[in-house]
Amino acid sequence: MTTADSQDIEQATATLAYFTAILSDHTRMLTRISQERIWAASGQAALESARILVVSSSATSTSILKNLVLPGIGHFSILDSAITTPADAGNNFFLNARESIGKPRAQEAVPLLRELNESVQGEAVLKDVKDLLGTEQGKDWLTGFSIVIAHNLDKPTLEELSALLWSNPEGPPLVTVRSAGFLAEFHIQYHEHCVSESHSENAPSLRITRPFPALLEWARSLDLNALDPTEHGHIPFVVILVRQVDEWRKSHGGELPKTLAEKKEFKKGILALKVKADEENFDEAEAQAWRVWSEPAIPSDIQALFSLSALQSASAQPRQGTFHALLHTLVEFTKDPAGSGTLPLSSNLPDMKSDTESYVRLQNLYRQWADVEKSKFKELFEAKHPEAAASVDPEEVDSFVKNSHHLRVLRGKRWGTFDADREALGNALASTPREAATHLALTALTNLLAQDTDASKVTDEALKGEVISLVGPGVELPEELDAAIGEIARAPTADIPNMAAFLGGLVAQEAIKMITEQYVPLNGYCVVDLVDSWTGVVG
């Protein structure tokens, strides 16, 4: 081969690599469009920097991982010392069927998962989690992930793992998954989880009864009689309502409609303004009149967060710390005597019957005033929390203010806490019998298998005995318990493909919510019954 040839080859290789890179970027961009409509670029970035540990490579485990690899997590590790059995080769899509039998299960699964998305890194760690829990180095490794997921792990090991991850407030959340045949459950262990972007579909307040100056000015300046019929039929309902509230207050000593009769009268007053029967904007104003009496200055859910006691461990977590500083600023904002006593205005205006000009004008008014209030919020934040304000990503503040009507703070529990609380179990059995019964049957299974790994000893009687020892004597057991227990005794060690796939979707979805800090994740145990096709939450 001549030098020229080799140069050509080198050049060709470089060109090929270049085009492959472009093509791969292009693919990535295109495939992200769809999911970014759901969790935005910020959520995608969080996913791409996430490191995930899955303990075991069972069918359920690989199903969960599949749904995390596809949308593009950064890295995954499978921790599993098991050797592929004929049963594994039969129920796990991410093994090479018969060819994988006798080979390390995790090692067989990793390449088949990685080929789903070339931008995701993955590794098989062929060790037993018990051994890692026994060394400091192993413990450090286990706590170094964004989230840890464990399927059908034995009870003593799970207790150790959950204690380790709970002891460190900065440690990863732990998702524990348990399944047997048609029944399953999973739990997410975390101290606290704060969400700005909950993607709530409830519309934020339009501030009809507490209008900002420019909105009130517009409403007051309207001369309904002077408008031509087209303009009249296109006044946005928001402006109509603000105007009517203003008028009402003038004639009712500053009060809003309170009694049913007053509310009816108020609505009638709106319809009486129509000059033509088919003016849909006035119909819309009447339909939206509930906002006049049902929109509190601060929604009760948010008010509840204001009195939330500080979580000791929360301050140790920088992200939660920022969130709490912002939440504290929000309390101050609502107390500001110069303000309207409300949350910052949202610029998110729903569509309404109107012409383009009026709608765009209204949209701009909302946007401008939302900016004014956001600036005020930022000033307060800088004054009250200078350190947090100096280090925070400005986008986080923007997102917090924008979503202030829909903030969520979840306080989680350690795995197993529920099972140690007889009063809580008794209450759950009474209020949500099928969820509680199914959960107890699964806990009973875990306990029995911890005493003896021989699954043939998992009988109806043994399970029932275990449940009774959990809830204590004298607790009335619902008939749902026998249904759940019988189903567990039927298939105590079955990881059936449809349940594995079902859990694969559910658990991945909750993991995505935890990682992206968007939407609202599960708090407690999610119980699944694929006999009667339902899911529920308990504990």
């Binding site: 495939t31 709530s200 765009v360 249904a483 079955a494 796939a501 079902f502 991945a508 096709s533 339902w534």
Partner: protein
């Protein structure tokens, strides 16, 4: 392809000792809620693995998941129909496809992948439309599972399976399991044609209006979507005449985007982007892998329960909302007596005496429980308005401005037809 079939074609050849260890725990004995007709053990396994023939419609986001689940559950004679080819944007959830498969048939690639990964399973693909197949074809299956993103295709298969039911022949009743997802939400349902509520019965449950009122689009746009609809519904036919818009052609999308953007600027509306344009005109529903996995698993679980009687199947609707915690709702959706497909009674519609035919058409287009795009109307022995052919359209066009009450008597019937409607809808008109 042919070689793969030859190797994997023999249904029992792929099995090994212990292969079905997990599923067999379910099939070897009944649970407390299992129907007494369950034939535990060899008989049910023989039916599932050697006799049952199942059809999967759609090899996309749901279809890929469905095929994998069925194969692992022990179904060995699976057929799959899909008319689409693989697009680069599918790869983040349609997990049987790789970069090298882009441009190839979804049905063919998916079938081959499953047969390679799960030995002994025969997957027979058909790269084409469901409408290409006749009743004889659909009669050969025990079950049909739909994983489609198209309302139109679902309406067609639903109407076809309902019409196929012959009371004299129980075999003609094919359970239809339908799944659908959007973002973190989804639903799975079991339809027993003519027995339970059908797809058409619940059309009004689809939460998104597929059409904006024409007057908003034409006169008072407020949202970026209104501008995009203006470009695609009104401007495209005005400028391009009969030339068909191809939503897969980037040049066409680019044209629509420019027109919509221009209109948005004119009206000072923000938010028109290329990807939104594509999303609106292709009616792209944002889909993610995890929701597809849940819904596909639910569909396959129902198929497995129906095929084996190992547990009662869903009666008849499972709805999942995963945005705020995990919320799901299992309920029985009721049959509609005036369902145009399975109800047998005509749909009552109340109109003002003054309303024109044009107004009636607008109302029909906007109604969630009808969902029709370009309806043609007739009454017994009379053509009211026809969208095509052009001569007939021209001949009936003057009727658009006439009042409906001049053409149809109170209590009279109007038949609605449309290319997107797999049946004739009959309306009974009442005037106020």
């Amino acid at each position: 392809m042919a070689a793969a079939v030859a190797i994997n074609g023999n249904a029992s050849s792929g099995d090994w000792e212990g292969r079905y260890y997990h599923v067999d725990q379910i099939l070897d004995r009944p649970g407390p809620r299992t129907d007494p007709s369950f034939l535990a053990g060899d008989e049910v396994k023989d039916f599932l693995r050697n006799k049952c023939k199942i059809l999967v419609i759609g090899a996309g986001g749901l279809g890929c998941e469905i095929l994998a689940n069925l194969a692992l559950s022990g179904f060995k004679d699976i057929h799959v129909i899909d008319m689409d080819t693989i697009d680069i944007s599918n790869l983040n959830r349609q997990f049987l496809f790789r970069q090298k498969d882009v441009g190839h048939s979804k049905a063919n690639v998916a079938a081959e992948f499953i047969m390679n990964r799960v030995p002994g399973v025969k997957v027979t693909p058909y790269f084409g439309k469901i409408q290409d197949k006749d009743e004889d074809y659909y009669l050969q299956f025990n079950l049909v599972i739909c994983g489609l993103d198209s309302v139109e295709a679902r309406r067609w298969i639903n109407a076809t399976l309902v019409n196929m039911v012959d009371p004299e022949n129980p075999e003609s009743l094919k359970p239809l399991i339908d799944g659908g997802t959007e973002g973190f939400k989804g639903q799975a349902r079991v339809i027993l044609p003519t027995v339970t509520s059908c797809y058409e019965c619940s059309l009004d449950m689809l939460n998104k209006p597929t059409a904006f009122p024409i007057c908003t689009i034409a006169n008072t746009p407020r949202l970026p979507e209104h501008c995009i609809e203006w470009a695609s519904v009104l401007e495209w036919p005005r400028v391009h005449g009969d030339k068909k818009m191809d939503t897969d052609n980037p040049e066409h999308i680019q044209w629509l985007y420019q027109i919509a953007l221009h209109r948005a600027q004119e009206f000072k509306i923000e938010g028109v982007t290329y990807s939104l344009t594509q999303g609106v005109v292709k009616n792209i529903i944002p889909a993610i892998a995890s929701t597809n996995a849940i819904i596909a698993a639910s569909c396959c679980n129902e198929a497995f329960k129906i095929a084996t009687s190992s547990a009662a199947y869903l009666n008849n609707y499972f709805m999942l909302i995963g945005t705020d915690g995990v919320y799901s709702y299992t309920f029985e959706h009721e049959k509609r007596d005036d369902c145009p497909v399975c109800g047998g009674e005509s749909l009552d519609i109340t109109l003002s005496k003054d309303w024109t035919v044009e107004r009636l058409i607008e109302i029909l287009v906007e109604r969630q429980d009808i969902q029709v795009k370009k309806p043609s109307l007739s009454s017994p022995g009379k053509q009211i308005y026809f969208q095509a052919p052009p001569q007939l359209e021209e001949a009936t066009r003057p009727n658009l401005e006439k009042k409906v009450s001049e053409l149809v008597a109170d209590g009279g019937e109007i038949t609605v037809t449309a290319t997107t409607l797999p049946f004739n809808l009959s309306l009974r008109v009442k005037y106020t």
